[in-house]
Every structure is written in structure tokens, then in C-alpha cells.
Amino acid sequence: MSRLTEFLHGGLRVCASGCTALLFSVAPPAHAASENVAQVGDWKGIGRAATPAEVRAWDIDVRPDFKGLPKGAGTVARGQEIWESKCATCHGVFGEATHVFTPIAGGVHSEDLKAGHTASLLKPTEARTTVMKLSHVSTLWDYINRAMPWNAPRSLSIDEVYAVTAYVLNLGSVLPDDFTLSNENVAEVQARLPNRDGMTMDHGMWSVKGKPDVRNVACMKGCAVDVKVASVLPEAARPAHGNLADQNRTIGPVRGVVTAAQVAGTAPAVPSQGVAMLQLANKGACLSCHQIETKVVGPAFREVAAKYKGDPKAFATLIAKVKNGGQGIWGAIPMPPAQSLSDEEIGKLVRWVLDGTPQ
């Protein structure tokens, strides 16, 4: 067995110096396998060479040194058109929206472009937008190219990705209105990014040899003499996750705490309409997206009642909508078809929503 095949078969885990040079100076067999099986075995015929077209089709990543970035260009103005037709429903016209995801743009100031650090990352109240954190243009270009629009990834052309990347950076106060972003000037744009120097690798959590930054000691007796409860669950958060009694086993050493019922003693013998309907809505998983008063993923039930007040067709339309799902009335986010509810139950729920969710 030659050193090369031995090497290729993992027989030599640690190579003597010169081994890599040897490997890359010898023309390999079409498949790096041989007659002689060391530990791994003869893999001849397993796997085939990727064709250049296949590699081009899948190797789409763009690195910080712009390796992988295809040639192309796009203007901020063209980017605005794309943004407003394909992105703004979810991200907002100014990249400010929070109903689908965190804001994309905002929080960057002109001093940041000079500093290379986004100052507002230090402000506890400021939402952390994408552009505030962004340290590489390649990251933004690559991500839009591979994954956006969210519901139709890989549908933009190369030039469209340049244009809309330019527009996101324009919304983010990095590029002027008349800018054309291209593979030629992308390095200059990199040099303007507000948070280009905002990353650090000074930590021990990547390398297996890295050292942890926080240390505790395993004291056993009389350790913290003055234990304080510094934070407790806010009262409002207790029922926010539904009835915890329904999230625990009904046998065993403990039970889940009842968090969704009225106070003992004041409870009526029969569940009120409101409680019964909430149970039904819970069974139908509606409450993961809807609340009575506030908009979550879907509109607040009160908003729905207000919108369709006095509309005689609403009852039938909404039953069909809940049954089959749909989108476009309240925004771009779709509602999935209702599961685990009968038609009758859906009817009851819709009636209750339209009646203004009485208690």
C-alpha cells in the first residue's frame, strides 16, 4: 500500500510532515480508494464526482473575503421597488416591522460609520436591528440570496439581490439614495459598515481547548450566607403559558398548578360561556396565535369583532376561513386550517368571536 492510499484511508491519523505536500502533488485516482483496506475499508464506487454545473448550482455561499460573490449590480432605487413589492409585507416599508421578525433597519448613526462600532448596541432600550449588528456585507448578501423572501427563497436574480441588499443598507443609513452596489465596490461598502469592528473572538467557546470565562466553586457547607430571591415570576407571566395543570402528568409525586381558572369559591358551577369558549379555542390551538385584546400572530378577537360588526355575511365567511385557513385580510401571515375541531365547534367559536367574546 502506498503512503498515499494509507493516508486516504485514515490509517495515518496524524501525518508526518511532508505528507500533505505529497498528497497534493500526486495525481489521485478517480476515486480515492484502493485494493488495500486499512481501517475504513474499500470505498471504491461509493460517491461520484460532482460535475462543475452541480457545484455551481449548490455552492452559493459568499464568504467575508467575497469568495463566491457572483458578478452583478443593483441600484438602491431598484432595490426599493423589490423591497416594497416582495419584502415590506413582513419587514415593514422601512424595515421597522416587528409582527413577523425583529426590525431590519434603524439604530445606526453617521458616527458609527466612522467608528466601526454601532453605539446604540450599548443602549439597553434600543431594539437590536440587523444592520446595527452586521459586521460583513457578505453576510447580508449571502442570506438574502439564499433565504429571502422567506416564503419564496431563491426566487431573486443576482442583480435583484444586489439591488435589495443596497436598499437594506440604504434603509439602515449606510448607503446614499443614488448608490449602485456591485461586485466591484462591495469592499468599499464593507469599509463603511457601522459594526464592522464590532465582533470579538476573544472567548473560549469555539475552540475545544478554549477556557471558560465564568467560574464558580463547588462549596458544600455554609456557602452563601445571605441568600436573596432577586427575581420572581411576574404575576402576569403565570397564566401567559396557559393552564400549567394541563402541561403536567396527572399521576406521580406532583401536579401542575392550575393557572387558568377563577379563584376557588367564586367559581360558578357551570363554566361561563367565556371559559367554555376559551377551552374550545385552546383545544383548537387558536390561542397560540390569538388573544382577546391584543394582536399576537393573528388579530385580537376584539379587532375581528369590530371589523365585521353588522356584516351579515361574516359568520359564514369566517367559518370557512377558520376551517380552511388563509391570509391577506390582516396581513401577509397565513392562518393554518383549524385542526381538531368539528364544524359545530368552529361555528360556536366564530359566533363567540363575532359577539365580542362575552365572558
Partner: protein, 446 residues
């Protein structure tokens, strides 16, 4: 009994009374009126207890009266060709945390740790985190491409990958954002939401190093691997080659004896033991060997840790040692004073768990718990320890130590270094406060 607010309890009407206790009953127990428990079987028989005076029945109905399951013919084999949990177990399911994310295709479903045993996560309860929804990919159309700094850029089918030498290994997977909601303050009620982005399975697959060796990768320059998913998000993460060379990184297709579930990356995912879940790229379609890190979206604008000085720590990946008590835990109610088996899990991204200590007085005094075997590297380890609750308020905590000697920190120690605005890598000691009523709740105590 008649004063019990049964009707007010959602979903409670149909259940047999012996299966659960109502809040008022729990309060009676907590107040020491245990006689109530003895009379519970009478209630089970549907008897109404009118006041105090009544004769002791000769025994429990469930014993004295033949039950339907003992007096009838049961279901045939393969009634469910793919088995299901008991209908009585439906409370334990994956759940989202309301308000955490905006849309459920870019969201998290948490594992119900509060009701789980041992170290293996039932595949149907494995936590979910998707960035662009999940897909059920036709495995005959799935390909793995390996390109970049290899002698021969190569495509594998699943048929081919599954022919290669396989290994099976048990490892935990934890999302880097697990417990992230608690960096600032207590935010969520139960261990499902505080720690449920955590699962542990036996994974089967091919060692990535064997494939790279076979293809002749450039050991000198090829110090990084990019893993890319085949779904719409095309999830990409950089893995340092030193991890791959350790032989631990797997191209996995098996999970707990069956193929991966679609939500977990069917038919192929990367397994990167000790490293946060986002690097365990699902629906894996491509491995690229390169000479620099890739700064992808989920290692540049997310999964970065904001430090008090405004710098973002990039490529923080290894999950430091951590533990949590799962029984009893937040949102649960102790039914009585007396003995409890305090049980929980511990894990470390740097190796094996060496010791877990448990305190019931908020961290003043500690006792070492019993570790259940097997104790495996970068896997969950189950711990148990007896505790007698005297009915007084208590604060339960667990503290893990791994084989490197690292001791799980307190939240104030973490904050002293990293501030309060980080989202990721909160491995702080968890405190559960037990109130006199028996109710257990989430607190931060130090």
C-alpha cells in the same frame, strides 16, 4: 367537596377525580389535612361525602370492584401500526412559548422536561427550532455534496452514505438560546420553557472525518467546514476542523433506532457533540472545506453574545456545563409533606459530568446527588437525590461539575462577566422556590 370549583377548570370536567387534585384539595393536603387523601377513594366511587360522620369503606373501589380492563378483551396487535403514547399522557407535549417568536415557522417548540425520565428524549418530544419551517424531504432525492478543499468534489446518495461504516452515539443537543429568556429576569413559569430547547438521543451515522479522509481534504489549509441545509433557509454554520478531526462530528441519519424525524432533519443532519444546536445543520445537503470562517447570518447577526462593552462575541458554540432539576420544578405542586425523589439532568459540552450537587436552602448547603449510568461524554446525565420536605419554604438548586473541573455558575456570576443583554449561553444554576402551599415557582436566588 361540593365547594370545589371543578367547573371552572378548563378541560377538567370529564376526568376521574382520583387522577388529579383540585386546587382546594391540594390546599387541604398542604395544610396537613391528609385525612382527605384517605377519603379520596370514596370520592372515586362517586359518593358524596356529607359532612364528617361516615363509615370506613372496606377498601378501594379500584381493587374491590373488577375494572373494565380486567374484565374485557383488549385491543389487537398493530391496532396502531406506529405506536402512540397512552391517551392519559397527552399533557406532555412540545409547546411554543407565547410571545417569544412572531411566527411558528421561525420558532421553537420546547420539550416537556417536567415529565421526562432518564436521559433519552422520546423522538416525538424532541425540541424543534426551525428558521424557515420544516420539510419532509424525499430521501431518494436527497444528496450530500462535499466540495472545497478536497481532492475530489463528490456527491453521495443516501444509499451510499448508509453503506459506509456507521457509529451510534448518545449526545445532547441544546439550542444556544436555551434559558435565554432568563438573562435579565425570571420570565417563564416551567422547566419546559426555561430549559426545554434541550434533547438527547442516540444518533447513528458516518463520521465526517472518515468521509473527508476518503476524499483527501487539505489538512493544512482546510481548517474550517461549512455545513449547509437543503431547506429554504439553507442554514449555514462554520465548524472548526479540530472538532471534525476529533472524530465526533457525524453525518447522521438515525435517531433512537429509527430514521431522523422530519422536524429533526430527515434524512440527514450534522451532529456536532457539545456544540449548540444551530450547528447541527438539518436536511444537510453540502459540506465545504475552507480556509476561513464563513460569517453566515446565524453566526453574525444571531447566535452572537452581546457583551457589556457593546462587542458581540462571534462563533460562541460550546455549551458549558449546566444542570436543572426537572422534578419538582416550576409550575408544579407538591401533594404532601414528606419524601421526594429530586430528579434532574446535567450535561456539558466539554465532556462527562463528574458530579451534581443539590441544595434545598438556596445554595447555603449542598449534597452530592446519585448519578445514574451511563455517564457519557456530551450527553445528558440523570441525577437523583432523596429529600424530605418538612412543609417549610425551600429553594431547590442543582449545580453540575464536569470532568474538566468546571463548576456551573450562578446567574450573578454570569452577569458579572457578560451583563444582562446576552441572549445565548445562559448556563446558570436554576432555582425553584417551594412555597408552604407546595407550589413550586421559578425564581432567581443567590
Amino acid at each position: 367537596m361540593s365547594a370545589l370549583p371543578r367547573a371552572a377548570l378548563p378541560g377538567r370536567l370529564q376526568r376521574a377525580p382520583e387522577g388529579f387534585l383540585q386546587p382546594a384539595q391540594i390546599r387541604e393536603v398542604a395544610a396537613g389535612r391528609r385525612g382527605f387523601l384517605r377519603s379520596a377513594f370514596a370520592a372515586a366511587a362517586g359518593l358524596r361525602l356529607a359532612g364528617a360522620a361516615r363509615a370506613q369503606p372496606p377498601g378501594e373501589e379500584v381493587i374491590l370492584r373488577p375494572q373494565p380492563w380486567a374484565t374485557s378483551l383488549g385491543q389487537p396487535v398493530a391496532a396502531f401500526p406506529y405506536g402512540q403514547p397512552s391517551k392519559y399522557e397527552k399533557n406532555l407535549m412540545r409547546r411554543e412559548s407565547p410571545g417569544l417568536t412572531r411566527v411558528s415557522a421561525a420558532s421553537v417548540a420546547f420539550s416537556p422536561l417536567q415529565g421526562m425520565f432518564g436521559i433519552i428524549t422520546a423522538s416525538g418530544l424532541h425540541f424543534e427550532r426551525h428558521h424557515q419551517g420544516w420539510e419532509d424531504i424525499d430521501p431518494s432525492k436527497h444528496r450530500l455534496m462535499v466540495n472545497g478543499l478536497v481532492k475530489q468534489e463528490t456527491v453521495f446518495t443516501m444509499d451510499e452514505l448508509m453503506r459506509l461504516p456507521s457509529v451510534s452515539r448518545i449526545h445532547f443537543i441544546e439550542c444556544g438560546a436555551n434559558t435565554g429568556m432568563e438573562w435579565g429576569n425570571v420570565a417563564v413559569p416551567t422547566v419546559q420553557y426555561t430549559h426545554g430547547m434541550l434533547s438527547c438521543s442516540e444518533f447513528t451515522g458516518v463520521r465526517l472525518i472518515d468521509v473527508l479522509d476518503h476524499l483527501g481534504y487539505d489538512r493544512k489549509k482546510g481548517r474550517y467546514v461549512l455545513a449547509e441545509g437543503g431547506d429554504g433557509s439553507g442554514m449555514t454554520r462554520t465548524i472548526p476542523m479540530e472538532l471534525v478531526e476529533s472524530g465526533e462530528v457525524l453525518l447522521a441519519y438515525g435517531m433512537n433506532g429509527e430514521m431522523l424525524r422530519p422536524e429533526n432533519g430527515y434524512p440527514l443532519r450534522l451532529v456536532v457533540p457539545g456544540v449548540q444546536g444551530v450547528s447541527w445543520v438539518k436536511w444537510l445537503r453540502r459540506i465545504e472545506v475552507g480556509d476561513m470562517p464563513y460569517a453566515t447570518k446565524d453566526e453574525t447577526v444571531h447566535y452572537v453574545d452581546l457583551m457589556p462593552n457593546g462587542q458581540l462575541r462571534q462563533y460562541t458554540s460550546i455549551q458549558e456545563a449546566k444542570s436543572v432539576i426537572t422534578t419538582p420544578s416550576g409550575g408544579q405542586m407538591l401533594l404532601d409533606k414528606g419524601f421526594y425523589n429530586v430528579s434532574g439532568i446535567a450535561w456539558s459540552g466539554r465532556g462527562k459530568i463528574k458530579r451534581v450537587d443539590v441544595s434545598s436552602d438556596g445554595g447555603r448547603n449542598w449534597r452530592s446527588a446519585r448519578l445514574e449510568t451511563p455517564v457519557l461524554s456530551k450527553a445528558l446525565t440523570r441525577f437523583n437525590i432523596g429529600w424530605v420536605w418538612d412543609g417549610a419554604p425551600a429553594i431547590l438548586q442543582s449545580r453540575a461539575m464536569d470532568e474538566t473541573g468546571y463548576v456551573q455558575p450562578k446567574i450573578n456570576q454570569l452577569r458579572a462577566v457578560r451583563g444582562t443583554r446576552s441572549i445565548y449561553h445562559n448556563n446558570a444554576i436554576q432555582s425553584w422556590q417551594v412555597a408552604q402551599s407546595g407550589e413550586v415557582s421559578n425564581v432567581q436566588a443567590y
